[in-house]
Point group: C2
Chain length 243, copies 2
């Protein structure tokens, strides 16, 4: 599995992804699941992937390769004019990859599935996020539904639902996302450090990569160990049961 | 789905189960998933069930019916001498029900699956809990693994992992369990109020049924609405991210 969160704030977008990939518990390694394309002053587009690694790597390679071939008839991820069209391109490319890997028919297709979060901003439009399904169709964030999770999403969802607020600062949101990741990592072996993190400030059209959060990172450890105490204090604040 | 928690404390056992059952989102109703057998002064045995409703109802009916037929050759849930033997009886009965519903072979058997938590105390032994799988085998709680969840367990697990302590009072544990249920109910339509609750005090060999926690219950509402604020306060206590 995998765990990725893409989240929209008033001030921009934040992306966080784990890096564990596994084919059985005895075969795991570290792989990057977050990829960014940038045309300074024009666009920043970030993609996070979950699912079959062969599928997601082929998706990223195809998107990247096609963006470099100037003779391609079709506009690429570096040229399309809106985020909606970017989401369509990623969706059709994902579907193409899954269909290609899939000579054995519908039964095998579930094995090659992948889900994708695409987000960013293109000059002239607002920052936004899309979640793309293996079928190639997609949904966009709304004010009612301001973040997407892919992969092992259940453990870390309650804290996001409770504490997210679109007016939050980047720093507070990163703290919140780390708590959500920590809850997931503590519960599921298929999600693991290091974590990749990217913050996109609305209207900047520039990448600001944060350092990868490695195993043993002092801040992550402080959040992880402090959260247990903070939760117990929070429970104490609630009224007692009188049965 | 379903959500049930069975939890062992120094002072005894607590069981909590939701009551929603559904066959598709357009066909849902309320059903009891917690059942108790009691021989005053000798034993209290509580069973919670998750999975196919026809399977779990047949399981409970068989256990109950057989405990009332005095001519049965085999000892029943009211007579077996240890909790381990109770768990074996429940396991074999569960397997029998699943096998009976299953003329179409292994593929159909996944449909009829169910999981069960059995807990209680028999005079001469300690209070304990077992989790029973559809195959009829089972595991027992240990100090390292002091609670079991069945059904939609992921959303509510992180708070249990973080805040459970075997020295907790019954009142504080009920509060903790309600937070775990609330996190699940907020995230998944297949889990819903009312909640059934039972507290077993070690060595009492008597049932102390707590009132069902109904929709609109004042204490549940206080925990549910207070938890969001408490979590935000808890997050504020953690150090800020400096990237």
């Amino acid at each position: 599995m995998t765990y990725c969160i893409g989240l929209r704030l008033n001030s921009g977008l934040i992306f966080m992804s784990d890096t564990r990939t596994n084919a059985g518990v005895d075969n795991f390694s570290i792989t990057k699941k977050m990829f960014t394309w940038n045309v300074e002053g024009d666009r920043v587009i970030t993609i996070m992937t979950a699912g079959n690694l062969a599928t997601t790597q082929a998706l990223i390679s195809l998107l990247d390769e096609r963006s470099k071939i100037t003779s391609e008839r079709n506009p690429t991820i570096l040229e399309l004019p809106t985020m909606f069209q970017i989401a369509r391109l990623v969706g059709t490319t994902l579907k193409e990859v899954i269909d290609d890997s899939n000579p054995a028919g519908p039964e095998a297709s579930t094995k090659f599935k992948a889900s994708v979060i695409v987000g960013g901003q293109i000059n002239g439009g607002d920052p936004t996020l899309f979640m793309i399904y293996p079928e190639g169709n997609f949904i966009e964030v709304t004010d009612d539904n301001p973040f997407f999770q892919i992969g092992e999403a259940k453990y870390g969802k309650p804290i996001l639902v409770r504490a997210y607020d679109r007016a939050m600062s980047f720093e507070d949101t990163i703290k919140l996302m780390l708590v959500s990741f920590d809850s997931t990592i503590k519960a599921n072996l298929s999600v693991g450090l290091p974590l990749d993190l990217q913050v996109y400030e609305a209207g900047s059209f520039a990448v600001s990569n944060k350092p990868r959060i490695e195993l043993g990172d002092a801040y992550y450890e402080a959040v992880s160990s402090g959260w247990g105490d903070a939760l117990r204090t929070a429970l104490d604040q609630l009224p007692s049961y009188k049965g």
